[in-house]
C-alpha cells in the first residue's frame, strides 16, 4: 500500500465514529463509576459531528482532514476529551505537511506528534490513568513493528493490541489526573473511560488500513 490518503483517513474516522456509537453506553458506564457519566455522550457527539463535517465539506488532503477533525472535536465535545482529542488531530495535521498520502513512517510520526500535543495539553504522564496509558504503548508498538519491517496494517494491528493492554492496565491504577483523581484510592479497580475510547481509536486505524489494503 502506498499510504493513507484522504479517503483512508476518512475511513478511519468513520469506523471510529461507528465504534464509539456502538460502545457509547460502555464508555458512559465506565465514566459513571469514576467520573461524571458523560464520556460516551461526549465522544459520540464529537465523532458524529466529525463524520457529518466530512460529508458536508470534504477536505482536500490529509492535513485539511486532520485539521478539520481537530477543530470539530474542539468545537463540539467540550469537557476534558474535547480539547485532548482535538489537540491530537490538530498536531497530526501540522505534522503531515502537504503530503497527499501518508506512508507508514509519516503516519506513525504524525500520530506521535499528536499524542505529544495531547500529553502537553493534559500535563499527563504514563500511569496517571488517562488516555495516554493506551496511546503511549500503542505508539511504541507501532514504531517497533515498522522498525521490524512490518507493513502498516500489521503494525497498526500490533499497536491496537498494545493499546488494549494499556487500557486494561489502567484498571488497577490510582488516577492522578482528571475527574477520577478526586476519588484517590477509590479510583483503583475501574478501567479508565478515556483509555477505552483511545484503544478504540487505534483499533479503528488498524481496521481502516486493513480494509483499504
Amino acid at each position: 500500500m502506498a499510504g493513507l490518503d484522504v479517503d483512508g483517513l476518512g475511513r478511519w474516522l468513520r469506523i471510529y465514529a461507528a465504534s464509539v456509537a456502538e460502545h457509547q453506553e460502555e464508555l458512559t458506564s465506565l465514566d459513571a463509576a469514576i467520573g461524571d457519566a458523560d464520556h460516551g455522550a461526549n465522544m459520540h457527539r464529537g465523532m458524529a459531528a466529525v463524520v457529518d463535517g466530512l460529508a458536508a465539506t470534504p477536505p482536500a488532503d490529509p492535513a485539511a482532514l486532520l485539521k478539520q477533525t481537530g477543530m470539530v472535536l474542539i468545537r463540539s465535545v467540550g469537557g476534558t476529551s474535547g480539547p485532548l482529542y482535538g489537540t491530537l488531530f490538530l498536531r497530526m495535521a501540522s505534522a503531515v505537511g502537504g503530503e497527499t498520502a501518508l506512508g507508514p513512517e509519516t503516519f506513525a510520526k504524525a500520530l506521535r506528534a499528536g499524542v505529544e500535543g495531547l500529553v502537553a495539553r493534559g500535563k499527563t504522564e504514563l500511569g496517571d490513568k488517562t488516555l495516554y496509558d493506551a496511546l503511549g504503548p500503542a505508539l511504541d508498538a507501532l514504531d517497533a513493528s515498522l522498525g521490524d519491517g512490518e507493513p502498516l496494517a500489521a503494525a497498526l494491528h500490533a499497536a491496537s493490541r498494545a493499546a488494549d493492554s494499556g487500557r486494561d492496565a489502567t484498571t488497577p491504577m490510582v488516577a492522578r489526573k482528571g475527574r477520577a483523581s478526586y476519588l484517590g484510592e477509590r479510583s483503583a479497580g475501574h478501567q479508565d473511560p478515556g483509555a477505552t475510547s483511545a484503544a478504540l481509536l487505534v483499533a479503528a486505524a488498524a481496521q481502516a488500513v486493513a480494509e483499504g489494503a
Partner: protein, 333 residues
C-alpha cells in the same frame, strides 16, 4: 428516568429557549450557547465571564446581571463548554477594559478556557485574565493532580468581583480580588442520593438506602467516603470539621456561610442544616455575619447539600452587600 424533557439530546438547547423567553434582561446566542447581559458590553467596565457544564442551575446563567457576571457559556450537561463559545462570549462583553474568566477548576473547564484565551489573543486585542476557583476541601490538593474542585465558593467570588467590576476597577485588580476571595473560601459537600444524567438515563452511582456519600462533587463524582446515613447534626459535623481543619476562619470580620442544596433537597431541610452548621461554627469561634441558604449550585436531581465558608473583611463585606440584579441573587436594585 422521569424528567421534564423531550429528547435528552435537546435538553440544554430547549432549556435555553425557555430561559431566553423568561428573561428579557438577558440575551441568548443559541448557536453558541452564550447567555449575556442585554446591555453588554458595558463600556469601560471589565467583562466577567464564567460558565461550565449545564445541570447546575441557577448556576451559571442565574448569576448574570448588573453587579455580577456579564456572560456565561453553557456546556452540555456536566460537560465543559468549548473554546469557540468562550472566545465569542469574550468578544461580546469586552467593553474596552478587558475580560476576566472565572473558571471552575475542572480539567476540562481549565483546558477549554485556556484554549479560548489563546483564541481570543490570536483573533482580537482583548486582554484576558483567568482565575481558577478551587475551594473543595474534599479533594487533596497537589501539583501532580487535578487539584481541588471549584464548587460553592464560586458564588462568593462572582458576586464580590461583580460588585467591584461595577466600581470600575481594573482587570488585574479584579483578578487579584477573585484570587483573594477564592483563597478565603473552603467548601465541602455530601449526597443522600445520586443524580441521573439524562443522556445516561439511570443514576450515576448506586447508593444504598442506608448510606450517604461524603465529599461528593457537583457532577455526582463519588466523594471521599461512604458512611451510614446519620442525623443532620452528625452530617453537619462531617462537613464543617474538614472545612475548619483546612483554614482558620476565626479572624477577620466574620464569615459568609453558604448552605447549598444540590437539587432535590427541600429548603425545609436546608434551613435545618444551616441551624446545625451555624451552631457548630459558633462553638468553634467562627462568626457567621452573612448567610445564603438554597439551591444555587445544583447537581441536577441529586439530594444533598454542601457548605461553603468565606472569610470576610470590611471590603469584602461591602462588596457582598452591594446591589446585584440577577435571577439567582438579587438585592439593592
Amino acid at each position: 428516568m422521569k424528567k421534564l424533557l423531550n429528547d435528552p439530546a435537546d435538553l440544554v438547547a430547549e432549556s435555553l429557549r425557555g430561559l431566553d423567553r423568561a428573561h428579557p434582561e438577558l440575551r441568548v446566542d443559541h448557536e453558541n450557547r452564550i447567555i449575556y447581559r442585554a446591555d453588554a458590553p458595558v463600556s469601560g467596565k471589565v467583562g466577567l465571564l464564567s460558565g461550565g457544564g449545564s445541570g447546575h442551575e441557577p448556576a451559571h446563567a442565574g448569576f448574570i446581571g448588573p453587579g455580577m457576571l456579564d456572560a456565561v457559556c453553557a456546556g452540555e450537561v456536566f460537560t465543559s463548554p468549548v473554546p469557540d463559545q468562550m472566545a465569542e462570549a469574550t468578544k461580546k462583553i469586552d467593553g474596552g477594559a478587558g475580560v476576566l474568566h472565572l473558571v471552575w477548576n475542572y480539567t476540562g473547564d481549565v483546558m477549554n478556557f485556556d484554549m479560548a484565551a489563546e483564541l481570543a489573543a490570536a483573533e482580537t486585542d482583548t486582554t484576558v485574565e483567568a482565575v481558577v476557583m478551587n475551594d473543595d476541601v474534599a479533594v487533596e490538593d497537589s501539583l501532580f493532580t487535578a487539584g481541588r474542585r471549584g464548587t460553592g465558593a464560586a458564588i462568593a467570588v462572582e458576586k464580590i468581583v461583580g460588585a467591584a467590576a461595577e466600581q470600575g476597577r481594573s482587570l488585574s485588580e479584579l483578578a487579584d480580588l477573585a484570587r483573594r476571595v477564592n483563597d478565603n473560601s473552603r467548601s465541602m459537600g455530601m449526597a443522600l442520593t445520586s443524580c441521573t444524567v439524562p443522556a445516561k438515563g439511570s443514576p450515576t452511582f448506586d447508593l444504598p438506602d442506608d448510606e450517604i456519600e461524603i465529599g461528593i462533587g457537583i457532577h455526582g463524582e463519588p466523594g471521599r467516603r461512604r458512611v451510614p446515613l446519620a442525623p443532620a447534626r452528625e452530617i453537619a459535623q462531617m462537613l464543617v470539621d474538614p472545612v475548619l481543619a483546612d483554614r482558620d476562619f476565626t479572624g477577620g470580620d466574620g464569615v459568609l456561610v453558604f448552605v447549598n442544596g444540590t437539587g432535590a433537597t427541600p429548603l425545609l431541610e436546608l434551613y435545618l442544616m444551616y441551624g446545625e452548621i451555624a451552631a457548630l461554627l459558633e462553638k468553634a469561634g467562627v462568626v457567621p455575619v452573612r448567610t445564603l441558604v438554597g439551591p444555587y449550585v445544583t447537581s441536577l436531581d441529586m439530594a444533598g447539600c454542601s457548605v461553603s465558608i468565606t472569610q470576610l473583611d470590611d471590603e469584602l463585606l461591602r462588596l457582598w452587600d452591594a446591589p446585584v440584579a440577577t435571577s439567582g441573587l438579587r438585592w439593592g436594585m
